[in-house]
């Protein structure tokens, strides 16, 4: 129900449905790890909840992000968390937004966006979700991703003078 | 006049000793009582029943260094704890513990105690101000508004009792309550007034005593979950010790006043028990009241500052004013 609605709403962001599936999505199947994984293309994928724990997985480009989050906001989702993943082999950083609903009509939506590792800039969603503030600050200090338009982008958990980003894969303590 | 002045000086010395002893052992009683309420044993290692704990604590406090925070007003910082003890000790002078045990009975005894009690809040103001600490500062602002708010119903209720007794002499007030338990001011049956509102004025007076002595649930001045330790945040060693003793001395004074004004002072509850000396009954009532103080402290959560002021201005003051008018009417009619 709500999943379907959200899927349709999010689908509008991607004018042409992407036919191909990136290898990373094929969980459960045994894959040869030697094969270099291609970065996944933008698009919307429905996931198996029993395996992955969420329903919709939308990868958008950074400039589509606000649009996608607005759709989620209008469908009355709450923000669960924001985090990053460092895909060092692809030279990319991924920002993952988790959304869920205060409802028995279960639907978990994951919105993700990928940015260049050397120039990680993502628009902030604090204007839509005030609670994204801390999550974005945390992602900023752990990954060095800049959230443009963030009201108070200073270190939250790390010391004030920390100039490193510990969750980057090339960080060695 | 000259002899009485000497008496007063001697009495002050005795009062200091009494206050200090009481304060020390009330700390012990408080800790034991709190522990029992919380099903713990409490201090029980030093001496029998832990009775050596207070002197040892005192020695520890005195052995510590008195630190004065930078930027503090040194003179006031040191003067404040002394000022906290001063009114309580002065008040002991005029309290009649029995028919014969009184340092200096004054015919304005009631006034004397309230005059000195009212200076107590200034100690908190000075302590809070001179510490140069924001928590202490906020605490002293609270202490002032609290003192102003609760002095009024307390005085009005006292005036009610004074009107019934027709005297401000503490001994005279107690003498009029002699007979049996039913003659005490708290019970309106056989007493002087037949005022049915007396139990209520007892409750008002007792509540005001709790508030005036900064005891839980009215301990907003030192609300440790908000203001860390309030006005004595910056005090250590004997400065803290004096505040502590001052608090307990004030409790003793407040309970003495409650005993005298409402519970018949040194009078025995039943006439045939009169062979037991009055001091026994006085101290029994006094320590029962103090036990209630302790009991209340370990039962209730703390009020808020506006809840406290609302209680005073919206409930206690109107009720005590009504009580005053009612009593005046009764006295006029009968």
């Amino acid at each position: 129900m709500i999943c379907e609605k959200t899927r349709l709403a999010l689908q509008k962001l991607f004018p042409t449905p992407e036919p191909q599936e990136a290898p990373i999505e094929d969980a459960g199947e045994e894959k040869d790890k030697k094969v270099p994984q291609e970065p996944r293309n933008n698009g919307l994928v429905e996931r198996d909840y029993a395996v992955h724990g969420y329903h919709l997985d939308a990868q958008v480009s950074p400039d589509q992000l606000l649009e996608a989050v607005t759709i989620v906001d209008e469908a009355e989702f709450f923000i669960e968390s924001i985090t990053g993943v460092d895909w060092i082999k692809d030279g990319q950083l991924e920002v993952i937004y988790d959304f869920s609903r205060y409802d028995f009509d279960l639907c978990r939506v994951v919105i993700r966006t990928r940015v260049d590792r050397n120039h990680p800039v993502v628009p902030t969603i604090t204007g839509i979700y005030a609670g994204a503030n801390w999550h974005e600050r945390e992602t900023h200090e752990f990954f060095g991703i800049k959230f443009t338009g963030h009201p108070h982008l200073v270190p939250l958990l790390l010391p004030e003078d920390a100039d490193f980003h510990p969750l980057l894969k090339d960080f060695k303590a | 006049m000259s002899l009485t002045l000497l008496n007063v000086i001697v009495a002050v010395v005795i009062a200091i000793a009494f206050a200090a002893l009481n304060a020390a052992y009330l700390v012990w009683a408080e800790r034991r009582g709190a522990a029992r309420i919380q099903r713990r044993p409490g201090p029980n290692i030093n001496g029998p029943f832990g009775l050596l704990q207070p002197p040892l604590d005192g020695i520890k406090l005195m052995a510590k260094q008195l630190t004065i925070p930078g930027g503090a007003d040194k003179v006031l910082f040191i003067a404040a704890p002394v000022l906290a003890m001063f009114p309580a000790i002065m008040s002991f002078v005029t309290i009649p513990f029995s028919e014969s045990i009184v340092a200096k009975n004054m015919n304005v005894g009631v006034l004397m105690i309230f005059a000195f009690a009212s200076t107590g809040s200034m100690a908190l103001v000075f302590a809070g101000w001179s510490s140069r600490n924001k928590y202490a500062m906020m605490s002293s602002v609270r202490a002032v508004s609290q003192a102003v708010a609760y002095e009024i119903p307390m005085l009005i209720t006292t005036i009610t009792v004074v009107m019934i007794a027709g005297s401000t002499d503490l001994m005279e007030i107690v003498r009029q309550q002699s007979g049996s338990i039913l003659h005490w001011n708290i019970f309106p049956v056989l007493g002087n007034s037949h005022n049915l509102l007396m139990p209520m004025s007892f409750l008002i007076f007792f509540t005001c005593t709790l508030a005036e002595t900064n005891r839980a649930p009215f301990d907003l001045g030192e609300a440790e979950s908000e203001l860390v330790a309030g006005f004595h945040t910056e005090y250590g060693s004997m400065g803290f010790g004096l505040f502590f003793m001052g608090e307990y001395a004030n409790i003793v004074i407040g309970s003495c006043m409650t005993t005298i004004l409402f519970l018949g002072g040194w009078n025995a509850p039943l006439p045939f028990l009169g062979f037991i000396p009055g001091i026994f009954w006085f101290l029994l009532k006094l320590y029962l009241l103090i036990a209630t103080f302790i009991w209340i402290r370990w039962t209730f959560p703390r009020t808020t500052i506006y809840g406290l002021l609302n209680l005073s201005w919206k409930i206690l003051i109107p009720l005590s004013l009504f009580n005053l008018l009612f009593t005046a009417g009764l006295i006029k009619v009968f």
Binding site: - | A35, I37, R39, R40, N44, I296, T299, F300, I315
Partner: protein, 146 residues
């Protein structure tokens, strides 16, 4: 106006109920144990620091396979062994447990396939020196055997 008085009344009643409860508690027995004078026995599965299990001869069961060392998430185990002349099995010569880093997860005990490690019931450990918590378990075993 009526609510004014009923509020006061109910408030007072609630206060007296609370005082009644603490009054009852005042006369209930204490539930605490005054610790240094009385102690409780630890339950069977209590997790103190680990210790070596000895066989009948008083020698440790350990065969120095090093599984516990690998399993430990905090790298607090270091052990060494040597093959004595003519012997078949390796013999433990050193088993150091850095208890300052141990988080008592039990991975080492679980990983041991030779019944050589167990949790002790030791809980009275206090020291002001860090070095006191670097245990030589072999030595401890010898002391225990004495």
């Amino acid at each position: 106006m009526i609510t004014y008085f009923t509020d006061i009344y109910h408030g007072l009643i609630s206060l007296f109920i609370g005082m009644g409860i603490t009054f009852k508690e005042f006369f209930s027995p204490t539930v605490t144990v005054s610790y240094p004078y009385e102690t409780l026995t630890m339950c069977d599965r209590y997790r103190g620091h680990t210790q070596l299990i000895a066989n009948e001869e008083g020698k440790p069961n350990c065969v120095v396979c090093g599984l516990c060392e690998k399993a430990c998430p905090s790298n607090c185990i270091s052990l060494a062994g040597e093959k004595p002349e003519g012997g078949k099995k390796k013999v433990l010569t050193k088993y150091i447990l850095d208890f300052t880093r141990c988080s008592l997860c039990g991975s080492c005990v679980e990983s041991c396939n030779f019944n050589a490690l167990e949790f002790s019931k030791e809980y009275n450990l206090a020291s002001t020196r860090k070095e006191d918590f670097i245990f030589d378990l072999l030595k401890r075993l010898e002391e225990k055997n004495k």
